[in-house]
Symmetry: C3
Subunit: 417 residues, 3 copies
Amino acid sequence: MRSITGPGVRQSLEILQSITPLTIHGVESGSEALDWTVPDEWHFTQAWIADRQGNRLVDTAHSTLHVVNFSVAVDGVFTAHELAPHLHALPEQPDSIPYRTTYYADNWGFCLTQRTLDNLGDGPFQVRIEAQRVPGVLNYGEIHVAGKRPQEILVSTHICHPQLANDNLSGMVLAAALAESVRQTQPELSWRFVFVPGTIGAITWLAQHKATLPPIVGGLVITGLGDSSPFHWKKTPGGQEWIDHLMSLVLAEAVPEHHTILPFSPYGYDERQYTSPGFKLPVGRLSRAVHGTFAQYHTSEDNLDFVNAESIDQSLALLERVVASANCDTVYQNLSPYGEPQLGKRGLYSALGANVDPGRLQMSLLWLLNQSDGNTPLSCIAAQSGIPLSELHTAAGMLVDKHLLQPVRHASENRIS
Amino acid sequence: MRSITGPGVRQSLEILQSITPLTIHGVESGSEALDWTVPDEWHFTQAWIADRQGNRLVDTAHSTLHVVNFSVAVDGVFTAHELAPHLHALPEQPDSIPYRTTYYADNWGFCLTQRTLDNLGDGPFQVRIEAQRVPGVLNYGEIHVAGKRPQEILVSTHICHPQLANDNLSGMVLAAALAESVRQTQPELSWRFVFVPGTIGAITWLAQHKATLPPIVGGLVITGLGDSSPFHWKKTPGGQEWIDHLMSLVLAEAVPEHHTILPFSPYGYDERQYTSPGFKLPVGRLSRAVHGTFAQYHTSEDNLDFVNAESIDQSLALLERVVASANCDTVYQNLSPYGEPQLGKRGLYSALGANVDPGRLQMSLLWLLNQSDGNTPLSCIAAQSGIPLSELHTAAGMLVDKHLLQPVRHASENRIS
Amino acid sequence: MRSITGPGVRQSLEILQSITPLTIHGVESGSEALDWTVPDEWHFTQAWIADRQGNRLVDTAHSTLHVVNFSVAVDGVFTAHELAPHLHALPEQPDSIPYRTTYYADNWGFCLTQRTLDNLGDGPFQVRIEAQRVPGVLNYGEIHVAGKRPQEILVSTHICHPQLANDNLSGMVLAAALAESVRQTQPELSWRFVFVPGTIGAITWLAQHKATLPPIVGGLVITGLGDSSPFHWKKTPGGQEWIDHLMSLVLAEAVPEHHTILPFSPYGYDERQYTSPGFKLPVGRLSRAVHGTFAQYHTSEDNLDFVNAESIDQSLALLERVVASANCDTVYQNLSPYGEPQLGKRGLYSALGANVDPGRLQMSLLWLLNQSDGNTPLSCIAAQSGIPLSELHTAAGMLVDKHLLQPVRHASENRIS
């Protein structure tokens, strides 16, 4: 079973290695990590509650959610009254098992459906949790794909929730698939994918890299991308970073009617850590269903029925469009900036004049020539003109071939403020 | 009777001294005050119009509004034709006596209801105004409450309208009550309350302080706060001063459905003087009913029936909330800025993880830690997060106690531009 | 017949000289003009298509649009199949002759109604175009009206479309009429009117002036001003130039319900050339009907029935208001900036005080005094206050007479960014 540490995490990362060759790092328990300490590993075997006859009433053999994650070991007989504070259910969702954790307290407990709780009987109950916290390592996965430029885009996903499909299995699978996809190309920017236990994993990764932080020009925390909700981009704290503009553009182009831009909030996932004022990394978050706003969130209902292959495919396609868009977000300089260059003699303009509609390619050429003053990235021209970034990129290539345009830098190099 | 100068003003300021120990200043008639000259005192006894039989048709014994304020003395018999240009009524409000003044012209007149005017008869009329303009002083009241910081908030109210309840008695009473309330605490900022005759009083006060102007970081002209209209904040000329942001926040928190923000206009009350381009003090205005927009304005209908105790109490409560909000609008620095500090080990975070809702206190803590980069005042965090300023202030105190946050300056020290 | 070069252009410019004394310039064919080469002159006599019996089926005697403008000479017999690629019609507007050009390709063709095309018969056809391209000059007209200041406003109109009334005859006539109107006054700014063949003419003009570009602080390309559509101001590329603010204000004042502000786009008329990144002149465009959005555009329906005298008069009045507004857009400095100066003693304020409504003139005076800090142009005060620029200008004159205000510069001297 996955948790923030232990064999379940290692096993999960090894499975992801079959998708893309990520490296599995381990940081020793007890190490300092910023304001935190790397915890012990959690080794879990089984947990159950039985009645006097030995009938298993709650058993992690049926769902790993039944045990409060990171519980300490228990073996004893409890009255109903003694057991009560250790039982967690959802009265308003009587058939769902909640997901709860106790990483930083020596506590234990069980999660169960309200229906089971109501029929648990009077006890006494035999209770057993076979688990121990033992020194070891905290694991995280990482893969760096070198692009033509050293500037990096960070993709971070958490890997600690056991069993839950959308949050967070979808993020793990998609980060690995995207890493492998990016690895097949030579991207313009470099990409770094990190697979970390929530909070402590991101904190540990940041602690490991604090001395020489990679040149991260934008980042996406990804999770919850397997359901069919609209996409949600949660902006960086300032909301005006290059990655914010890029994500707005990509979502507007790809899923114009099926996305929402959210303001920053310091609650959520590991964007909280990356954007803390000491680091201030320009990291936002891409999700479909938003944590805390859907009934399945952190319950046994976030299962394989809640996610679907089509949504995951769409999400991967969207992420690949982010890569493609980042690749071509170049700032160009018009090399013939005085008046419009004569496109006709270069075969780039219709010979017959005075048509009503200049055609899309010619509009792209005109926008590029007018706006390419050495300061305006392609993504800005796309946003202003309404012409898709990919079309502008194609047209820019034609103008570069004709020596009318010259790339001067990548858009991420002037971080928009 | 009150006017811009004379015994009525002195008597009014002395009454206010029973609320708060303000100082009464006097500036000699004939003194230069910026582009103006301090006028003589106006000593008024009585004024009336009588018919041939000696019946008093109009008499200041019934309303001080009956005489045009600052009229010169008159004693004589006038035909209806001669008297007509000296009579002022409101044809569209036939039962209201208008309020008119003649401070800077040697003129005289009477204000009366249209109904009285219509029945005045054919004359001749005996007319008497017992009044004289004599050298003396222009009085204004002032009280300074020293806070922990020298920066000041100015509260200015005019005191020259005789008899009118909302404009301006409500302002006088509330400024005095607020001064006394602030005096009972040790506020963070200093506060200065000035009680001045309209226009010439503010001009005289500015002239007195021009050489060494106090460090005013924000100001409120207050008047018209006794009726039950929504609150109106009239912004400073630029509209982007710290006081504008603070007032918007306080009104949004306290009376979200019962206030309006108005753009600056150079007409109105003494904000005209404070914001003149030579001074450019960041002063706006807080009122309920807005001058010139309600039928009672500058008429005998602006009386004790137009105002009510509940509205005055609400207005005082709002002003006290401005004081409290100004007190706690601090800029903090996160002392553990790399990642989130581990709140759990400091007792500031729930031990049981993965709940849907983090709770309001924890949201406050997270917002404070994420945004406290040494540049972001509490009021900005409140506006961004939707969490009331007072809650953030409480949470900030907890983080200061745990050495996670440190105040670095007051928000007013970086005037927002 | 007009084209980009040739006797038709010269003849047109000579007719405009009867309105205003513009200078006709000629630049030799073959001259380099930025990235372009000045073309030969086009000398055209006639063009027709006849059937085997010699019946003229299409003949430029009936419409100059029948020949593709700048066609090379043709004389021969063609089958229907051979002729087809040289024929242009509009299937969806079967009674309109389209307007087409072939300036930069050795091509030829005919434009005709779809109805004529459908009944053309099977051929063969006798085809004749009597035309030649001969070295000569490219002509453009220019008139400079010196104002009190050297800063210029550029008015540019294209002159190459034969026969079309709204686009572009209305622009030619209005530019000439406005030039003559401006010449009758001594404007504050200087004005330069250029009458150029589309694209190549603007490019040639820019090439001629590239070395020492006049100090153009704003510019208007004008065309399509003869129909009754709402006015359209197409903004400069940044959209924040002084001319953008001025045009927004003038349109809001003059035709509040009958205008639209359009964002910049690099398609359209010669604003494309003036705003190219090498020049970046602050030039927008004023039109009524917008090119490409109305059925008559570039067809025989853009004739004298489409335009009307009333609309042309309105357009001229609007342009003259632009001149008047530009003339008075001054930045003033308040010479008595501490508090309000006492207007009453200068005869600028009503003697009787406490009226509800201060009156429009007094509001103008107060706005001017409060805002004239040496940085705020009259047009900004007009936009903020809602008081028409002309009223503020009158009031400013009164304050200048009383030595309360002093002009410090023209608004165009701090280009708003």
